[in-house]
Structure formats: structure tokens, C-alpha cells
């Protein structure tokens, strides 16, 4: 089970904002936003809510679980 996200899509829809601008808006470092976006770091509930609130979306619109990867990997 892997947490994926539409962060990149929403950033670009939001006037092509940079990772640094989003990081400044939610109070984390650029590297954290980069790791969340690439799926290498699972954000806390607080950070996920902050990001969702910033884009005016629900958390589920931005973050979702990808079950398919486990089926392919045979981990289920």
C-alpha cells in the first residue's frame, strides 16, 4: 500500500508555484515538499491538512492510497 499525491498537479494549477513557495506557505523546508511529492516521505496529518487547506481542497483530493502497486509486487 503506497500513499501517492497530486501535489505537483495542484502546484502547477496554482500559478505554477514552486516547491519553495509551497514550503514557505505551510512552514516546512523545500526538501520536505520535494520528498512528499516524490512519495519518499509520508507527511503527518497536520502537514497534509495544511497543504489541503492551502489549495482549498480536501485531503483525499490531494493524497490517495495506491493499492495496485502491492498487487504487482505480490505483497498483499
Amino acid at each position: 500500500m503506497k500513499l501517492e499525491n497530486n501535489l505537483r498537479k495542484y502546484r502547477f494549477e496554482h500559478d505554477e508555484m514552486t516547491q519553495q513557495e509551497l514550503a514557505n506557505a505551510v512552514g516546512v523546508t523545500r526538501l520536505t515538499i520535494h520528498s512528499v511529492e516524490t512519495g519518499k516521505f509520508v507527511p503527518s496529518t497536520l502537514l497534509a491538512l495544511k497543504i489541503a487547506r492551502f489549495f482549498g481542497k480536501r485531503v483525499e483530493d490531494i493524497f490517495y492510497i495506491n493499492d495496485e502497486e502491492d498487487v504487482i509486487g505480490g505483497k498483499e
Binding site: E21, A23, N24, G27, V28, T29, R30, L31, H34, L47
Partner: protein, 292 residues
């Protein structure tokens, strides 16, 4: 920033010339002493003047580099290396003075100062290496300055966090290298213990200074806000790995020592432990932070 980088560039070129000139003078003096020739007084004064000028350049350089620490740049590793080598090279300048005095005294009594000369020439190599690192940093920073000015300023800073860990890695590598140098070369026993102790203290200085600087930049924030959540996670993982490495690694080292497999001076355990832990902690934190 532009002016200070240009200033550093000038300092690095000047330092390179001075260090090279000083090495040439010292090589000439060494050759003269070995063939029992007298050394003209002006040569001794020239070496003294060169050392004093280099001390001054080191002091100015560390202040200028320190003023760049909060600036985000692509040259973080070169900048961290400059800080560590500046302090190490400065320490070796002071060692140069002591060694040259000893050489002067010993050459009057017995013509055997090989150990002292080895330390002096090792110091010259470090001075030249520092000037080259400083040159590389200032050239690289000059080139990329215009690019870094374009982006938005970071509110949650990661530059100092990365710099502190890079300084930690470089400090530990230089420290372990210096301990190996002291073990590998036949340094006079009277100097080895003092050099080891002073070098450990001096080499750890840039790391502690950068940690203090980092704490100063965070003093207005609550401790819970000092790191962001990913930095917390990276540090926690690094701490767990260090716990395992230090217990297992030092256990193996102690086992080998007590069984007589390796003959290690007991006074070396603590510096080796310090530098190994620093290397592992800073290295793993940097790796995890950059892995994304």
C-alpha cells in the same frame, strides 16, 4: 555577498602564493641545515612575516565565510570544507611556529629534527590545500551567485541544517585522517600526545561553532519548531543507526584490543569514537535528507 566573494577570491590567491613561498623557503632552510650551512637572518624573518600574514588571512577568511553560512548556495560542501580546513590550517600555523622554534634549538645541539620537519611540511600541505579549497569555493560561488539571487527566500531554513551536517562529516574525515597521519608517521612521542589532543579539540571547533550558530538562528523559535517533520525523522533514524554502530563497532574494537589482535594507544579510543560517531551521525542525516 558579491563583494565578499570577490574579497575571498583575492585572499585565496594571496594565501596560495604565500603558502607556496613559505614551503619553498622552508625546503631551502631544511636543505641548508642538513648540509650544515648557516641560514641568513633575513630568511628567518621572511618566514615569520609569511606566517603572521597567513594567520591574519585565516582569521579574516573564517569571518567572511561565516557571514555566508545562512545564504543558500550550491557550494555548501565547498563552504563547509573551507570552514573546517581554515580552522585546521590555522591550528597548524601555530604548530609551525612551535616546531620551527624546536628545529632552531635542536640544530644548535644535534642535527636531528626529522620528526619536526615532517610536521612542518604536513602543515604546509594543509595550508596549500586550504587555499585551493577556498579558491574553488570563491570561484564557484561567484559563478552561481546570479542564479541563487533569482529564487524565493526560504522561510523555514534548511541551509544551516545541511551546512552543520556537512561540517560534521568533513571534520570527522579530517580528524580521522589526522589520527592516521600521527599513527603512520614517526612523530616524536613528546609531540604526538599533545598534537592529538589539540587537534581533536581544534578540529571539533568548527562543528561546535556551526552548531552554536545554528542554535543562535533558532533562538526565537520554540524547540519544537527547530526542525521540520522530515528533519526530525532523518535525525531519529540516524540516531538509531548510531546506537547500533557505536555499540557494535566499539565492542568489536574493544574486543580486538583486549585480545591483543590490535595494538592501539588507549588514549586514541576517545578521539576515534568521537570522530566515528560524528561521521556516522552527520553522514547518515545528510544521506537521508538528500535521498529524497
Amino acid at each position: 555577498m558579491k563583494k565578499s566573494i570577490r574579497f575571498l577570491l583575492i585572499l585565496s590567491i594571496l594565501l596560495l602564493c604565500l603558502a607556496a613561498g613559505n614551503t619553498a623557503m622552508l625546503m631551502h632552510m631544511n636543505a641548508a641545515l642538513q648540509t650544515n650551512l648557516t641560514i641568513a637572518e633575513w630568511k628567518s624573518y621572511t618566514v615569520a612575516a609569511l606566517i603572521i600574514t597567513m594567520v591574519f588571512i585565516h582569521l579574516v577568511s573564517v569571518i567572511v565565510i561565516g557571514s555566508h553560512l545562512r545564504k543558500d548556495s550550491q557550494e555548501k560542501i565547498l563552504r563547509s570544507a573551507s570552514v573546517v580546513f581554515c580552522v585546521f590550517s590555522f591550528f597548524l600555523l601555530l604548530v609551525d611556529v612551535v616546531m620551527l622554534q624546536e628545529i632552531g634549538k635542536e640544530s644548535l645541539v644535534i642535527n636531528d629534527a626529522l620528526g619536526e620537519w615532517k610536521i612542518v611540511f604536513f602543515g604546509q600541505a594543509v595550508h596549500i590545500l586550504f587555499s585551493l579549497i577556498l579558491l574553488a569555493y570563491s570561484l564557484s560561488a561567484k559563478r552561481s551567485l546570479s542564479e541563487s539571487e533569482a529564487g524565493p527566500q526560504a522561510l523555514k531554513d534548511e541551509t544551516v541544517f545541511l551546512t552543520v551536517n556537512q561540517v560534521g562529516v568533513i571534520t570527522a574525515v579530517v580528524g580521522l585522517g589526522f589520527i592516521l597521519f600521527l599513527l603512520g608517521f614517526q612523530i616524536p612521542a613528546g609531540y604526538a600526545v599533545g598534537l592529538r589532543f589539540m587537534a581533536t579539540l581544534i578540529l571539533l571547533l568548527p562543528y561546535f561553532l556551526s552548531v552554536i550558530y545554528w542554535i543562535c538562528t533558532k533562538c526565537r523559535e520554540k524547540p519544537v519548531e527547530w526542525y521540520d517533520e522530515k528533519q526530525y525523522q532523518d535525525i531519529s533514524h540516524a540516531a538509531l543507526v548510531i546506537l547500533l554502530i557505536s555499540v557494535v563497532g566499539m565492542g568489536i574494537l574493544y574486543g580486538c584490543y583486549s585480545k591483543g589482535v590490535i595494538a592501539l594507544d588507549p588514549s586514541l579510543f576517545f578521539p576515534i569514537y568521537l570522530f566515528l560517531v560524528l561521521l556516522s551521525f552527520s553522514g547518515i542525516t545528510l544521506y537521508l535528507n538528500k535521498k529524497a
